[in-house]
Symmetry: C2
């Protein structure tokens, strides 16, 4: 037995894992339900009153929760509800897109405190990274002006950009952002900002935003169909964002539509990029969204055409997502003008039959989430908050 093949094993846990989990469970409960008393928390989490009391004391002295007015509930001593303190934590979110970059600052409950954007120069990462670092620095300055403790309570920087990551090389597919995908973004941002950095694709980021403050709030099984320059699905499976073995799960835009024959990726038919192409719009045009909004609201013939073909493809995508994931709901979201997403939703109905047609359904099969150019940046910012405060299996384990 002198071989040194690595031993594969899951990590064990100890008291600190237990305690970390229970703290996260409290925070999650307050996020999902709003203010709760210690007794409520004890019942909901199945912990004892005493344990909850200790944890709440601790969270309070850490500045993460605070008590509200006591309330009388009938007989018995009035209860004291506790709520999350928005200023308990902050995070920066960064979206890197083809032609521009956005940065945002959020607090513990998901309020957006600062938002800034900048055009990205065409030179790719070598010139773009300077713009990005400046933008982040500016966001931090603004944030400090609003909340003086923000720097001490900054839990990290979440970055979002189009995937997929780690591939062999895509040739020069203009749909991709190959130069950025190969750039050591994480390391560069970490050094340049001194923050903990995490990176996700844009659909995953939008999904985290939906879970924190949107349509997936409190749901443990939800899929967001994200329509941006590309198309992706963000997966909330078992209460956690699922990103696959290599971080590319949900890259549904790359799915080929037809079996055999000439097959096109979904992304080439139903994304904003395909819309720009169809309407010969310039993706770098700063008035793009206004133009699209106007075209939709005046029922322009060509955009109606595009919506109809895109809706057919998306209808099928929803069917596929339901069939494969069996989620509680599918959420249509995107960094697209709200009016366009609403129009898509309407045009997608009626949905294809699927196993999601349950007799006991309480949530709609398909609903609109945030449709806002800033949702990716918001989700990117929510990422570090979620990593730090949401209950997760990995948070229990050692190391």
């Amino acid at each position: 037995m002198n071989d040194t093949r690595p031993i594969r094993a899951k990590s064990g846990t100890n008291h600190e894992g237990t305690s970390a989990h229970n703290r996260r469970v409290m925070i999650d409960a307050l996020r999902v339900n709003g203010a709760l008393s210690r007794a409520d928390l004890a019942r909901a989490t199945r912990l004892t009153k005493q344990t909850v009391s200790n944890i709440i004391d601790e969270l309070e002295s850490d500045g993460l929760v605070t008590s509200r007015q006591t309330v009388r509930n009938g007989r018995g001593q009035p209860s004291t509800p506790y709520a999350l303190v928005p200023e308990g934590a902050f995070a920066i979110g960064l979206q890197i897109d083809r032609h521009m970059t956005r940065a945002i600052a959020v607090d513990l409950v998901g309020n957006v405190l600062v938002r800034l954007e900048a055009k990205l120069p065409s030179g790719g990462p070598t010139t773009g990274i300077r713009v990005i670092l400046d933008l982040i620095a500016a966001v931090r300055r603004h944030l400090t002006a609003i909340a003086s403790q923000s720097e001490q309570r900054l839990v990290g920087l979440g970055a979002a950009m189009p995937g997929p990551f780690g591939l062999a090389g895509n040739g020069d597919d203009p749909w991709m952002m190959e130069a950025w995908q190969k750039f050591p973004l994480l390391e560069t941002l970490a050094v340049g900002t001194g923050l903990d950095v995490s990176i996700q694709n844009d659909a995953a980021a939008a999904t985290i935003a939906e879970r924190m403050v949107g349509a997936a709030h409190g749901l443990d099984h939800a899929v967001c169909l994200y329509i941006g320059y590309g198309i992706g699905a963000g997966l909330i499976l078992g209460g956690e964002l699922y990103t696959g073995a290599y971080g590319n799960a949900g890259e549904i835009g790359m799915a080929l539509l037809a079996v055999g024959g000439k097959s096109t990726p979904l992304e080439h038919r139903a994304s904003l990029a395909s819309l720009y192409q169809y309407l010969s719009l310039d993706p770098a045009d700063p008035n793009l969204y206004v133009k699209i909004h106007d075209l939709v609201s005046t029922e322009d013939r060509r955009i109606v055409e595009w919506v109809e073909t895109a809706a057919a493809d998306l209808r099928w995508s929803v069917h596929l997502i339901e069939t494969v994931f069996d989620p509680q709901t599918v959420i249509l979201c995107g960094s697209a003008p709200r009016i366009l997403v609403d129009r898509l939703l309407v045009t997608m109905g009626p949905l294809l039959p699927s196993l999601a047609e349950r007799p006991d359904r309480t949530v709609p099969r398909l609903q609109v989430g945030m449709a806002d150019p800033w949702s990716v940046a918001l989700g990117a910012a929510a990422g570090p908050i979620s990593l730090e405060f949401d209950p997760r299996y990995a948070a229990i384990l050692k190391d």
Copy 2:
């Protein structure tokens, strides 16, 4: 605040959760790596030597692990490897199919000790349940004859049958087993056997088998494409079987193949049922598999035709699975004759381009798993073992 809306919260954990997790981690490590010393386990699980020592002592006195010959590893005291005791636990697996039922008994490491099958009468559950209960009783008698302690160490009964579950009603689609799907199987089996019963669809069961003793052994992100009478995908995501919000995740056989136009479910084109139909074979024929084997080995024209169309659909399915789940590997398995599955695998090559074409790949994109009529029953039996002994987030939580 006198409303009584239910409070949604995750469950907390305590010492017992910690300890339960660490025990499971040990067992998992021994299952994946074979025999390991206490020191090895301590390093791999990041627990202290002392903790590992205590847990191993406990597992040993519970009859779940046992020591092997000490081995000299160079300097230092020789180490004592510990291994799982096969007789440490047993489980019964049950497969209910359209025309027959199979029952199996396995031990802790996945050895099959008993296998029995019976024809199911055409009368559906009302008459079939008697046959099934008798079959289970017979398996238990045989098991007791082999392992006298088996009854005390029986952790449960896992049942597997074609999904989907809990739907509104499928009309009388002959592909479905509607009467069985509506029958209160779980309750009836629990009462009839006195065991803990769990139910899964056949693809999920086959996947658990692959994870325990097959191609997914030790992998945390793998998808099994299961080809049986129907078609389904079994999902190992983040080291656990994922079954969706309502237990139907992976029912990929219901996925419609084309966008718009006349679209057929995958299941109607690439399943064994479609093969039987194509070749006008009787699904209830006891010599079915022998016939198919012969047809494949003699390269019968019509089966070659079927394989080619099915392979095209399955090639696309693999592409889709890779795109959506980003797994470490896709495993082709089924309750079909091995030779047919092998033939399908060969015919499916070359695979479609996808993000699974990674430069750093160590596992094949697609591989054959168990292809054996008994794999579903085996996986059904592995279910209760996995539930009882594998590390899982839910095992840590209270209640």
